[in-house]
Symmetry: C2
Subunit: 122 residues, 2 copies
């Protein structure tokens, strides 16, 4: 009899992440990733010309600065940054965030920076 994989415990994965802005892929859904990331401070302003991006805050607070204004998310709050929309995540006090996006998505999108991170699957 095959063994059923254990569920992924998001808090356990997040506790192991040492640096902010480095997403970990915790699940793969067809050609999409579910990722978790710890945010702290100011991220690179960028856009994803090819995809929407879902942000769900698990703990803490995350502001997403966009040309049309800012949105601030607390725990249990979700926002979709539309495809091609310039956005800058900003999290002065830190947050734990769940992302959903195509597996090919790079965290800094069209704006490579020192915060660009490779895809890491846990």
């Amino acid at each position: 009899m095959a063994v059923v994989p254990a569920p992924v415990d998001l808090a356990t994965v997040l506790a192991r992440i040492q640096r902010p802005w480095e997403p970990r892929t915790v699940a793969v859904l067809n050609d999409y990733d579910v990722r978790v990331v710890r945010t702290h401070g100011e991220f690179t302003r960028h856009s994803h010309p090819e995809t929407d991006e879902v942000f769900l805050v698990l703990s803490g607070s995350l502001t997403i600065r966009m040309d049309d204004g800012d949105v601030t998310l607390g725990p249990g709050q979700l926002f979709v940054v539309p495809k091609g929309t310039s956005h800058q995540p900003y999290s002065p006090d830190g947050a734990e965030v769940l992302l959903v996006e195509p597996s090919a998505t790079v965290n800094t999108g069209d704006t490579p920076s020192e915060l660009t991170a490779g895809r890491r699957v846990v």
Copy 2:
């Protein structure tokens, strides 16, 4: 200046759902949905021949019965039911669950039942 949409507060949406097993689409990501659902009791055993399905428990406890065994998820725990895998969600004490799946996905997959629910976007 355009107005930035408000974030979706998952607890607010869940509080408005009167019946278990009726998902609400809270966000659309390309051709995928993020949905929330209240689970209680036993759901229809079914599979999705065309897609994987992500379950993330927000509160309570959800068991997913599969041919190879059961997996039980608590808050903050995530599981992917692979494409074509028969599964039966079971939640004797109730749970609040976040789902990610293609927008065309029907909750009862290949097994229509009295619990089949149409797509409802909040």
